[in-house]
């Protein structure tokens, strides 16, 4: 039965994080001194504290020591965190999302035994998926609605005489790269006489694996990302994962929730300010022009959150597509286009109400605009995402 009731647990999670963010994260995140420099270091204290609250291992099954949160709950959490700081939200969400796939779905019991305790017991133990390679163009672009060659992975894993895997190659834009203690790495490897893409787990810290943090300017993802290079990087034979690489191929749903959080931060700031700022003898919220603008933002924010929640629900419930309650469409990709466009617009509209304050780098509104701008570029950007969506609409490929 269709129901939009959240569970008591979801509501509690939300309240708890909202308090944390309102009282601690947001005040720290929008301090002028923090906003002034071009690069803002990750507020690791808050990441640690959030980990203690269980947010790093939220999606991990209860059986394996997490909370078993579904995608909707994770979205709610990511939005709340992002209202305070999108980077914190992104780091925790990435680790949490990967922990579920890695430990709950991919690892064998023996692999879990080697890695799980270290992961659950260390608040600074983050995960990263090293997949995209430098110079690899993943965009459809001119190849829209044409057969495409399968991408080959340039990173190679070969067998050492002792049975170890030896990994060589480079990955770029690896989300969580600089903070990860364990990488999931895609590499071309020969297994059972057949060469194809496989996944490996590779612990950070070895000299044969180097991570270089990417600059924040021009980035396409919140959180932190890095270039990861493997030079004759040896890992035990058992570090080969059995899981299906497509499990990791999906749109990062938490990105969309983070984007909503950014828009919400801008909206809340605008609503508050409109009730204080006086023009022509009236608070600006009492002017039609401000009213119309605020209504537009509020509508956009509300419609957008609902879109994200639905995409999150759909990702966990293929049965709802199967029984035709939900359409068989690339809902996450569709949501991404809508969300990123709407929230960038919302942040800009909100900023306009702040006058000169709305254009200052060291004031919150420009931060929100900039944060929303990053979301426009996430993945392959909206122009390309629309082409992917259209290929599905055209029946050229499955949703």
């Amino acid at each position: 039965m269709y129901s939009l009731h959240l569970s008591a647990e979801q509501l509690e999670f939300r309240d708890m994080i909202r308090d944390f963010v309102t009282q601690e994260v947001r005040p720290a995140a929008i301090k002028s001194e923090r906003l002034e420099p071009l690069d803002q270091p990750l507020m690791t204290d808050f990441v640690d504290k959030a980990s203690q609250m269980g947010l790093r291992t939220m999606a991990l099954s209860e059986e394996n020591g997490g909370s078993g949160a579904d995608a909707l709950t994770s979205s709610i959490v990511a939005e709340e965190l992002a209202v305070g700081d999108p980077d914190i939200a992104a780091v925790l969400s990435e680790t949490s999302a990967l922990s579920h796939i890695l430990f709950d779905k991919m690892m064998t019991p023996s692999q879990r035994e080697r890695f799980l305790t270290a992961f659950t017991s260390d608040d600074r133990y983050h995960l990263a998926f090293a997949n995209r390679e430098p110079e690899t163009d993943t965009r459809i672009g001119i190849g829209y609605h044409q057969q495409r060659e399968e991408r080959r992975i340039a990173t190679k894993a070969t067998r050492a005489p002792n049975g170890d895997w030896v990994i060589n190659g480079s990955k770029s834009g690896v989300v969580n790269g600089p903070v990860a203690k364990l990488f999931i790495v895609s590499a071309e490897a020969e297994v059972d006489g057949k060469s194809s893409a496989h996944l490996f787990v590779v612990p950070a810290g070895a000299p044969s694996l180097t991570v270089r943090a990417q600059p924040q300017a021009g980035r396409a993802h919140h959180g932190t990302a890095g270039e990861v290079t493997f030079t004759d990087c040896h890992v035990p034979a058992d570090n080969l994962l059995k899981g299906d690489i497509t499990l990791l191929d999906a749109v990062r749903l938490y990105d969309l929730a983070i984007n909503v959080g950014i828009g919400r931060a801008a909206y809340e700031a605008a609503l508050e300010y409109s009730g204080i700022r006086v023009q022509g003898g009236k608070r600006i919220i009492e002017h039609q022009a401000t009213a119309t603008r605020l209504a537009d933002i509020a509508i956009s924010l509300d419609v957008t959150r609902n879109t994200v929640w639905r995409a999150a629900y759909a990702s966990d419930h293929p049965d709802a597509v199967a029984d035709r309650s939900l359409p068989d469409l690339p809902l996450a990709q569709m949501a991404r286009v809508h969300v990123s466009t709407a929230m960038y617009r919302a942040a800009k509209d909100a900023a306009e109400l702040f006058g000169a304050m709305g254009v200052m780098r060291d004031m919150p509104l420009q931060k929100y605009i900039h944060d929303a701008f990053i979301c426009l570029r996430t993945g392959d950007g909206n122009a390309d995402t629309k082409l992917r969506i259209a290929e599905t609409l055209a029946g050229f490929r499955a949703a």
Partner: protein, 392 residues
């Protein structure tokens, strides 16, 4: 109907284009990257431009300026902005002189202030309207005497004693002379209560506060100005006491120029964005084919070009109307519209780069530069002010 430029206009345009290409653009990103907002100016650039006449371009010839007409002004602002929007504004900010000189300055004021301005390549001007609260009340003044300008001046003999603050003042921290709106009647509504003063940088009791950390337009600085019993001679009053706002809606006010200025500057940014996108589309490849072969890129570049050329047409028309002293709502309308156009064009340019997988600092800078139009040219207050003129 003649859209051609005369020889002088063409010459100024070419001079500005050359200066923009050779001096402004090469320095543009480098100045933009400087983190400290008080350190972004390169005075060598101001000096070079000043020697070419850009700082003093609008001063009447009898005072040693070039007295270029509004069409030429628009062309120069757009060309300079194509190199760097904030640098263009740093020069055009000095042009407000021309209007004040011809309208209201006394011979004594000209001697004391205009001569040093003409002689010093780093002498830049500021004009202070905005205050910590109530910026919009100055733009669209209500009748309430409590609204608007709070910086107070009280007459004491031959001097006025100023107390209060101005904020977000362009060149506030680097200018050598400021035109300031100051409240000289605490009880009257704004339009009859404000006097325009000439306030030099070295006025006792005046100091510079913080420099604002704008998201874009980095080269062009905005600062806080703080007045604590600052003493300004009565001889520095421009025009009539309590008469500043009566004038500002008049025939050739700085406001009118300001509208054209923002529109022309936006045009230059649009030109830069189109140029970047077109160059990229003609040279970058994807899947082995030039980007320009992709329909979605074509559609975006078509839209950018159409908006840019529409803006150019409208800017030049308004400049022509200014030269004819045929004042209409057009200056305000083109300023408002420039906000929408500069932002859409700059965002499309960033989008085209993004869809080619290219992160381009220049493209991002144009987007950041474009934000300030929301505040200066296109917020609801700026739009309603113009619309009310249309609806009068």
């Amino acid at each position: 109907m003649d859209f051609s430029l005369n020889e002088e206009q063409r010459a100024w345009q070419m001079k500005a284009r050359k200066f923009a290409e050779e001096v402004l653009r090469p320095a543009s990103l480098e100045r933009d990257r400087i983190a400290d907002p008080a350190k972004t100016i390169d005075w060598e650039i101001i000096k070079k431009g000043s020697k070419l006449g850009f700082r003093t371009a609008v001063v009447p010839k009898q005072y040693g300026g070039h007295a270029i007409d509004f069409v030429t002004q628009a062309l120069v602002m757009a060309e300079l902005a194509r190199g760097d929007s904030a640098m263009s504004k740093a020069f055009s900010q000095c042009w407000k002189w021309s209007h004040l000189i011809s309208q209201a300055c006394t011979q004594d004021q000209k001697d004391r202030f205009l001569k040093p301005f003409m002689a010093d390549d780093t002498f830049v001007l500021g004009k202070g309207i905005t205050e910590p609260s109530g910026g919009s009340d100055n733009r669209l003044p209500p009748d309430d005497p409590k609204a608007g300008v709070k910086l107070r001046a009280e007459r004491k003999g031959d001097e006025w004693i100023l107390n209060g603050e101005k904020t977000f003042i362009a060149n506030g921290n680097v200018g050598k002379l400021f035109f300031l709106d100051v409240r000289t009647d605490p009880n009257a509504p704004l339009r009859n209560a404000v006097t325009l003063f000439l306030v030099p940088k070295d006025t006792p009791g005046f100091r510079v506060g913080k420099v604002f950390n704008k998201s874009g337009w980095r080269f062009y600085q905005n600062g806080e100005m703080i007045f604590e019993n600052a003493r300004v001679p009565h001889a520095n009053v421009v025009g009539e006491v309590n008469g500043a706002y009566a004038k500002s809606t008049g025939d050739a006010s700085g406001d009118l120029f300001g509208d054209l200025e923002l529109a022309a500057n936006a045009l230059g940014v649009c030109d830069a964005a189109c140029e970047q996108s077109i160059n990229l589309a003609r040279t970058a490849t994807q899947g082995g084919k030039l980007l320009k072969e992709q329909q979605s890129v074509q559609l975006k570049i078509g839209r950018m070009s159409a908006l840019t050329e529409a803006l150019r047409s409208y800017v030049l028309r308004v400049a022509y109307e200014h030269d004819q002293r045929a004042h209409s709502a057009n200056a305000g309308l083109v300023m408002n519209l420039a906000t929408d156009i500069i932002q859409e064009v700059a965002e499309l340019n960033a989008d085209i780069h993004d869809s080619a997988g290219i992160v381009d600092e220049n493209a991002d800078k144009l987007v950041r530069d474009s934000f300030i139009w929301s505040h200066l040219a296109g917020d609801a207050v700026q739009r309603m002010k113009v619309a009310r003129r249309v609806l009068k």
